[in-house]
Symmetry: C2
Subunit: 98 residues, 2 copies
């Protein structure tokens, strides 16, 4: 499992337009010269995180980046009614090809 | 990347009630004695595949199975209007702990 805390260049996937996230990945690797970018999501946004990673790797930065590692996990917390809730998370680590 | 074709014990995640899929995973590992089970999904069901894997690993078969490997990919095809469409896929490989 890859340790992800303390990493600077991560992108947290949410409700914004899809291409915003793809653009963020591209900018991190190109303008900002990152060697790795972490795409993170929770719950229903997990599918979207996979889409962002795939579109970045297969279309916008084809042959320039690849999926290095994928980790899934769960977070448990109490909701407003004090009930235990579990939500799944995903971390997709993208890396620049040499 | 893990080769997944020809594998017998895979579970394809779709619209059925969530616990059906978790139960299928449990039955594969227990009653059917599988050493590996592959949880597959496409598009919006990817989040659900991660949930199924997490609930199976963390609750129902805690300390008995683990995530061995996760692969993401894309499938491209033409839709009814002849337009190119891309859909993401995920394969989560679960394995029995010794």
């Amino acid at each position: 499992m890859t340790e992800t805390t303390g990493r600077d260049n991560f992108i947290y996937i949410g409700n914004k337009p899809f291409m915003n996230y793809v653009t963020s990945v591209v900018v991190q690797f190109t303008t900002k010269g990152a060697s790795e970018v972490l795409v993170k999501a929770r719950g229903k946004f997990i599918s979207r995180a996979v889409d962002v990673a795939e579109v970045a790797c297969k279309r916008f930065l084809k042959d320039q980046i690849r999926v290095k590692d994928i980790n899934i996990n769960s977070e448990e917390f109490k909701n407003n009614e004090g009930k235990d809730v579990r939500v799944s998370t995903i971390d997709v680590v993208l890396e620049k090809l040499k």
